[in-house]
Symmetry: C2
Subunit: 193 residues, 2 copies
DNA sequence: CGGTCTCTTGACGGAGTTCAAAGCTAGTGG
DNA sequence: CCACTAGCTTTGAACTCCGTCAAGAGACCG
């Protein structure tokens, strides 16, 4: 777990956490374990926590009025996940967050998040996380809007190769905005011709 | 212009700018005028400025490899516009920003933006702006992904009623991810049936 | 008044959905 | 350790929405 967090800081900010910094950073978080397919929170509730995944995987998704499910974000070891909208505005979440596999997370609540942000190092770290979320979302909008499903799938495979064989196809389909049947057909086309 | 900015602060943060604060906020910005259809910056360039619109309107958009154009954001008086990704990361922009009408803007560059952020009041203001951008983008993804074009258009009309009769239809179509012909047919259906 | 830009309308085609059913696979309990 | 089941993936056929191509009608500006 220590190595995972330090690597995350190195990757996001080119900064090696000292022992004291690591201590401060993790002092108010606690670990929690979930079975597969556990719901961490749902629409209506506030997202009171952000979760750092230590092992396993989770995803956030939305269900529209017709009952169709659409994945918003996938997260594996070393990723953060939550509904940032709800977490920051304290308004009810629009999203579910649910584990895919059996998963262990570090939990951070809003008060401790704010407290950590008083330290410029951690403030900057969390600002970069928000910025990265924004960038990923805009990139997704820009690169997938107006492309057909095959392009979207190829782009997804290129960006997240480690997800392709780890996340169930019906979830990838819901991320791409298509039905599992369509993704199955696309994959067949790509293999055959 | 003064009223526009003060209203913006009131709306974003419930804060009434004092004369001194207003002075500090605007001291390093300058105004600039553009004809309609002027390009403020394009892909490849860095977005070195953020623009606050005093009068007129502008939008950001993306052009894919096939040459199709997709609007990302519209902005009228009292809105900010830029490519935040490029502005914050200093990497080349993915987007165009272009005026729709003849438009007057306040211009703020990165150095002065950083300087303003040293003041906690303005730091918070700009953090809220980024947060709002993120929220709007996620909301758009969540509310339009998987809906048909008619739903997307109705949602757009509901969220931005003032845009519907001010932004040309072919730009609204490009925002919705459809062709102008399709939007025309959708509008006819809505009026008739 | 002529030219360009925008919006409308029609006919056809293609990508993705829906409905339905069958094959796989992994996890569970006997 | 096997058998069964529930959930995931694949496949087929009919249908729907939107895109493409093409052409015409308005609107705006010089």
């Amino acid at each position: 777990m220590e190595e995972l967090i330090k690597r995350n800081f190195r990757h996001a900010m080119d900064h090696d956490l000292s022992a004291a910094e690591y201590e401060e950073f993790t002092s108010h978080m606690f670990t929690k374990s979930y079975d597969k397919k556990s719901v961490l929170f749902q629409p209506g509730e506030q997202a009171r926590y952000v979760y750092f995944i230590l092992s396993g995987s989770a995803y956030s998704y939305y269900v529209n009025e017709e009952g169709d499910k659409y994945a918003v974000q996938f997260a594996v070891e070393g990723h953060w996940i939550s509904d940032q909208y709800s977490f920051f505005t304290e308004r009810p979440s629009l999203l579910y967050v649910e584990t895919i596999e059996s998963t262990e997370v570090l939990v951070l609540n809003r008060e401790h998040h704010s407290a950590l942000c008083e330290n410029p190092l951690f403030g900057k770290y969390f600002r970069i996380l928000v910025q990265n979320s924004f960038v990923a979302l805009q990139y997704r909008l820009v690169k997938t809007n107006g492309e057909d499903a095959e392009h979207r799938y190829l782009e997804f495979s290129r960006l997240y190769p480690h997800f392709v064989h780890r996340i169930p196809q019906y979830l990838i389909a819901s991320f791409l905005g298509i039905k599992p049947q369509s993704l199955s057909r696309i994959r067949r086309r790509l293999v055959q011709g």
